[in-house]
């Protein structure tokens, strides 16, 4: 649909961030070594990008050991910061591979309410379709009003089959039916939607564990992917989301959504540093093809306001 290169699109959102960063960093005087004041400013700027005080502090420490005998320009400072961020992000950039045998590859999508699960599923389905894989959906969010309807609309638009039940139905049994159906039809991928849940609600989290168990009963390898959808506008709480969902549902990878706003998703950096979970893709808009592979360097450069290479 749109021909805008994806990095320009996050650039669009991240631009504002970068503007702020640029503002802050251009005020940094050009000195041979970074003094405390400059380092403070960099640290604060990184915190304002949701990197969190911990990660920001460590980047600051690394910068403090750098020496610039010939003096340093503002641009160079940015390059150095971008490199530091890239170093943290690089190891976690891994796309989703469809390699399950026997088919289908079961992809469970989880997250807190409002993080963008359902929309992400639609985008993911579209992505798989583009790669010439067959997709089937399971409307496992039987809790939120009209969630099933929302996913059905997407399934219609994408012309893919969808397994759904009544509102309030048992999600686990629906998932069971989905895997059975998917296996019978030999579809390549089965994407399972789940109800949004806050990570501190033990009842709902138990349901998730149950879904996992039911999946494993039909196909020991399923779910092949457990994708946690994270909202880029969430702050440090995203770390707690990762921690709890990882323990209960065995998260295998992350998709970061809503990066087309002014949110910088700096939390990705903190998450990569702390948990090292693969980041599969980022969401940069509301249309179907607004899901992009995660490119660490581009994201790092966008965060600090440098043009895409």
């Amino acid at each position: 649909m749109s021909d805008t290169p994806w990095y320009k699109k996050i650039g669009f959102g991240l631009k504002r961030t970068s503007e702020r960063l640029t503002e802050n960093l251009s005020s940094i005087a050009l000195k041979a070594a970074l003094d405390d004041e400059t380092l403070d400013e960099i640290e604060e700027t990184l915190i304002a990008c949701d990197l969190g005080p911990g990660t920001a502090g460590r980047i600051r420490e690394r910068l403090a050991t750098e020496r610039f005998p010939q003096g340093v320009t503002e641009l160079e400072v940015r390059e150095v910061v971008a490199q530091e961020i890239t170093k943290i992000l690089e190891p976690v950039a891994k796309p989703i591979e469809i390699d399950a045998f026997p088919r289908p590859q079961v992809v469970l999508v989880i997250g807190v309410n409002g993080s963008g699960k359902t929309t992400t599923i639609a985008k993911l389905a579209h992505w798989f379709q583009e790669l010439d894989y067959e997709v089937m959906l399971v409307a496992g969010d039987t809790f939120r009003a009209a969630a099933i309807g929302q996913l059905k609309v997407w399934a219609d638009r994408l012309e893919i089959p969808i397994i759904s039940g009544a509102e309030g139905a048992d999600a686990a049994s629906l998932v069971f039916q989905g895997v059975k159906e998917g296996t019978a039809q030999g579809t390549d991928t089965l994407i399972v939607d789940t109800a949004g849940r806050l990570q501190n609600k033990s009842g709902l989290m138990d349901e998730l564990a149950k879904i996992r168990k039911v999946l494993g009963r039909l196909n020991p390898a399923a779910p092949h992917n457990v994708i946690l959808v994270l909202d880029a506008t969430n702050g440090q709480n995203a770390l707690s989301q990762i921690e709890v969902f990882k323990e209960i549902a065995g998260v295998s990878g992350i998709i970061m959504t809503k990066l087309d706003g002014t949110a910088r998703g700096g939390i990705m950096v903190a998450a990569a540093e702390k948990y090292g979970l693969p980041i599969h893709a980022i969401g940069v808009g509301e249309s179907m093809d607004d899901l992009r592979p995660f490119d660490p360097e581009a994201v790092a450069r966008a965060i600090v306001g440098l043009p895409h290479k």
């Binding site: 669009f12 959102g13 504002r16 604060e44 915190i47 304002a48 990008c49 949701d50 969190g52 005080p53 911990g54 807190v112 309410n113 409002g114 993080s115 963008g116 939120r144 009003a145 009209a146 969630a147 309807g149 929302q150 059905k152 609309v153 997407w154 509102e167 806050l198 990570q199 501190n200 033990s202 909202d231 880029a232 506008t233 969430n234 702050g235 440090q236 709480n237 995203a238 707690s240 809503k258 087309d260 706003g261 002014t262 949110a263 910088r264 700096g266 939390i267 509301e286």
Partner: protein, 474 residues
Amino acid sequence: MFGSLSERLSGVFDRLRGRGALTEDDVRQAMREVRIALLEADVALPVVRDFVNKITEKAIGQNVLKSVTPGQQVVKIVYDALVEMLGAETSDLNLAVNPPAVILMVGLQGSGKTTTSAKLGKQLKEKDHKKVLMASLDVHRPAAQEQLATLGTQADVPTLPIIAGQQPVEIAQRALTSARLQGYDVVILDTAGRLHIDQLLMDEMKAVADSSNPAETLLVVDALAGQDAVNIAKSFSEQVDLTGVILTRMDGDARGGAALSMRAVTGKPIKFVGTSEKLDGISPFHPDRVANRILGMGDIISLVEKASETIEKEDAEALAAKMAKGRFDFNDLKKQFGQMRRMGGMGALASMLPGVKQIKNAMANGQVDDRILIKMEAMIDSMTPKERIRPELINAKRKIRIAKGSGTTVQEINRLLKMHQEMSSAMKRLKKMGGIKGLMKMLGGGADGGVPPMMPPSGGIPGLPPGFGGFGRK
């Protein structure tokens, strides 16, 4: 909510209070820690900067450091500044206009507008006895209008019939017209979620606001929001005349930074907070109480209010009479469990009580949760009526029977018995201290007055029985 922020801050303040004299350096060091604690709680950077500068300046003022209790004084300064940052007074909706009063709900996608609309509608209908009509203007997200309709049915609040293909401004007009014709007091307009940089959608929102002349324009913000919350709030308040903020998902374990930044950024009060997924999960925002909670002083006023809302009066009186006699049997214990559940479970209780860190920690680690209440109720249910009244009857054989009946183990029965024993001896102690009246005095003393005294965690907190912590560990 606020748990980890509260923990960090109380650590800092404990150190301050522990000293007789304070130097300027001590205060500065403490303020640096406050700064990091606030940033980790996702309070917006500019707000943190302001806040820390303000309290540092006040705290190193000469009167403070020379006073007899400098540590206490610094805590008071922080408390005052927190209340100021949160907005000093509780503010309600202003719906005193020519009816129908329009409430416009705006915010990002996924912030919880639709659910909050339904909650608000339900509350206005049930508590304020208003006739409320809801209409969804979300023509963008698939099935969004159906979602509000479904929620409306659940909440028993009428929604505007959906006409496919209508544009937001038209829907708003239709809602207003039918509200006027059918004599509705309040119309809640739920708009589509939008990114604050999406000018097209922002214009649409402005057009709706212009044509419907809302009495209240409420920005719905996710309490999980990070540093970006500032940008969101700023751009929305630049586009429309906000009258207030609703924070959703305060029941998550977010550290509540957004709550602290919102007032400072928008200049508008936080009017409500969303506290659960259920349709009655919305409550007014009390800045002073939140400040208390953040500083680890608990929120006893809310607890007492909640208790009086949910506990049936006769039950409470009967229990009080029994307690006065020093008798407390398993029937009473079971009733108490039921009350605790109705009050929002142990999490809600623990978050409002001061100094129950142990329980809070146990809950955070997943060692104690509401299922324990259910389990214990099951054990009591498996007792004979006689056993419930006279627990001393329960011998080894009976324990085995009860364990089998409730699907638990004898060890768990033993723990329940021990807990009951501890509770009844606590009740007896209480009786010696002057019974219920003495207890109320104790509670009231902690809650009244501008700055609550930072009392050490007292042992005898009612509601949460002693020995609870031990019970949770499996």
